[in-house]
């Protein structure tokens, strides 16, 4: 895809191949490339570089249209974030990164260790709380996660925390009882705050393929997803499926994870992201 070449079927096939290999959904890919083909004919674009730039512009448009890409802060503290997603995607580590970032911005951060199921999950978050110098509310393994969140909200109010970030157990979106548990956690937050959580962040693994669509759909059914954290973008996977998530479900990407340290988090930049799809 580098260097000047004729604007022919082969070019569009190669662009299609690049998008598919970046995990962009095949139907999204075909729609976008077909629009591009039509535009190139109508506007008589015969410069392959211009075609490629046009494609990038189209994809950036999809990602940024009506997208609220900033993290919300409530005018009435505490701000509350719920972090959710399937197993092993990077929820706990992403929370550590957000904690470090907000702390450096002078915020008083509190973490809720509401993964009361997985072995050493509480220990893992506690180590991060200690490393980043933030408060943590936890109970014993096996406790009701909604009770931990409730405790954390009370503690946040009484201690004057600016933000509470709730870790939850990884759960496959196909497990009805686990999704019901998540709904319950969401309701507890709503009841205590008198509003929905300020952010419900779905963490996605950048190596994930088309299943991300099913994940996002099911999680959105259970809790009001406000944004995506795309983790592990420091690998070779491109995470292109988020284009479909934005296009079809309207979910914006808010943050990207770029490593395992607590500073390895960035705000999502659609232009950089789209360029990297073709890298």
């Amino acid at each position: 895809l580098t260097g000047r070449r004729p604007v022919d079927d082969e070019l569009f096939d190669d662009l299609e191949e690049a998008l598919i290999q970046a995990d962009v959904n095949i139907h999204t890919t075909m729609a976008v490339v077909n629009d591009l083909r039509d535009a190139s004919r109508k506007e008589r674009i015969n410069d392959s570089d211009a075609i490629k730039e046009r494609l990038k512009d189209d994809l950036v448009k999809v990602l940024t249209a009506n997208a609220d890409e900033h993290l919300r802060w409530s005018p009435s503290p505490p701000t509350v974030y719920l972090v959710v997603g399937v197993n092993g995607v990077g929820k706990t580590t992403s929370i550590a990164k957000m904690a470090a970032r907000f702390k450096s911005q002078g915020k008083k951060v509190m973490l809720a260790a509401a993964d009361t199921f997985r072995a050493a999950a509480i220990d893992q978050l506690e180590i991060w709380a200690n490393r980043t110098g933030v408060d943590i509310i936890k109970q014993r393994e096996g406790a009701d996660p909604a009770a931990v969140v409730y405790d954390a909200l009370q503690a946040a109010k009484s201690r004057g925390a600016d933000i509470v970030i709730c870790d939850t157990a990884g759960r496959l979106h196909t497990k009805k009882n686990l999704m019901e548990e998540l709904k319950k956690i969401g309701r507890v937050v709503e009841r205590e705050l008198g509003r929905e959580p300020d952010e419900v962040l779905l963490v996605l693994d950048a190596t994930c393929g088309q299943n991300a669509v099913s994940q996002a759909r099911e999680f959105k059914e259970a809790v009001p997803i406000t944004g995506i954290i795309l983790a592990k973008l420091d690998g070779t996977a491109k995470g292109g499926i988020v284009i479909t998530l934005k296009d079809e479900l309207g979910i914006p990407i808010k943050l990207v994870g770029t490593g395992e340290k607590c500073e390895d988090i960035d705000e999502f930049d659609s232009r950089d992201f789209v360029s990297a799809l073709f890298g």
Binding site: V86, A120, Q124, D205, G209, K232, A237, E260
Partner: protein, 292 residues
């Protein structure tokens, strides 16, 4: 479903009598789409469709009375053949201990799978020893210890200030003293492009000479599965794969991709978070899952 989509294609072609090569190609396009939707790697799909086309554009399908069944039969047979033999067990050492090393990307399910494997080994009458060689992830050692405790299986750990190679080597001695005959080594998740971390695995393998180096792969992995499998395999020589989180609804095309590009067998399937959620890998089940 794929059979419904194929039925639509062939219904449109029914008035034509005998199907031409072009008609069959139209049907095969649906198969290609299904495989890409299932996360099978782009170039693996290309090679695979080449094989299918060779068989499909023969006389048998062109005059077949039930072309849908015929296409599905060919695709299914080719998938099962590619996904490989279903009872590729573990290789055990002539003289114990047997060493099994689990490797893979971050979060793929190694620690959980290590415990499940240890559980399986014990059910088979062996004496497993779990080894906590992840010194990087916060509470990784504790995670393995908690699982070991739940199972009543010993966990060898030297804390997180030691070099994993030293931990592995010491574990061999510990197994000898403790009378364990299968050592299952949990390693830290790492990127295939992280030279230093991949080198650590190479040193671990050189020190321990494991009978099995198993790459643990998440069933929801997309196109990148090929890169990961190729790099781990060329750096270490994988003996096989374990595909995890198959209890979800990921189609699991990554399984086909990793097998196709490395030729190494998929030995087990992780199907849940509990310690008994480990099954042998069944190619027929995987094939119909991928086809949707």
């Amino acid at each position: 479903s794929l059979s419904e989509k194929l039925q639509n294609v062939f219904n449109r072609l029914r008035g034509k009598g005998v199907l031409s090569e072009q008609d069959v190609n139209e049907a095969l396009r649906e198969v290609r789409l299904a495989l890409l939707e299932a996360d099978v790697n782009f170039r693996v799909v290309k090679d695979f469709m080449g094989k299918v086309k060779e068989r499909a554009v023969g006389q048998e399908i062109l005059q077949s009375l039930s072309p849908v069944q015929h296409v599905i039969k060919i695709v299914n047979e080719e998938l099962v053949a590619l996904l490989g033999g279903s009872d590729v067990g573990l290789t055990f050492a002539q003289k114990p201990p047997t060493v099994i090393m689990l490797v893979g990307l971050q979060g793929s399910g190694k620690t959980t799978t290590a415990a499940k494997l240890a559980n399986l080994m014990r059910k088979q009458g062996r004496k497993p020893l779990l080894v906590a060689a992840d010194v990087y992830r916060p509470a990784a050692i504790k995670q393995l210890q908690v699982l070991g405790e739940q199972l009543g299986i010993p966990v060898f750990a030297l804390g997180d200030k030691q070099d994993p190679v030293h931990i592995g080597k010491s574990a061999l001695g510990a197994a000898e003293v403790g009378g364990q005959d299968v050592i299952i080594l949990d390693t830290a998740g790492r990127l295939h492009i992280d030279e230093q971390m991949m080198d650590e695995l190479a040193r671990l393998k050189a020190t321990l000479s494991p009978q099995e180096v198993l790459l643990v792969v998440d069933a929801m992995t997309g196109q990148d599965a090929v890169n990961v499998a190729e790099q781990f395999n060329s750096a270490l020589g994988a003996d096989g794969f374990i595909v995890t989180k198959l209890d979800g609804d990921a189609r699991g095309g990554a399984a086909l991709s990793i097998k196709a590009v490395t030729g190494k067998p998929i030995k087990f399937a992780g199907v849940g978070e509990k310690m008994d959620a480990l099954e042998p890998f069944y190619p027929e089940r995987m094939a119909s899952r991928i086809l949707g």
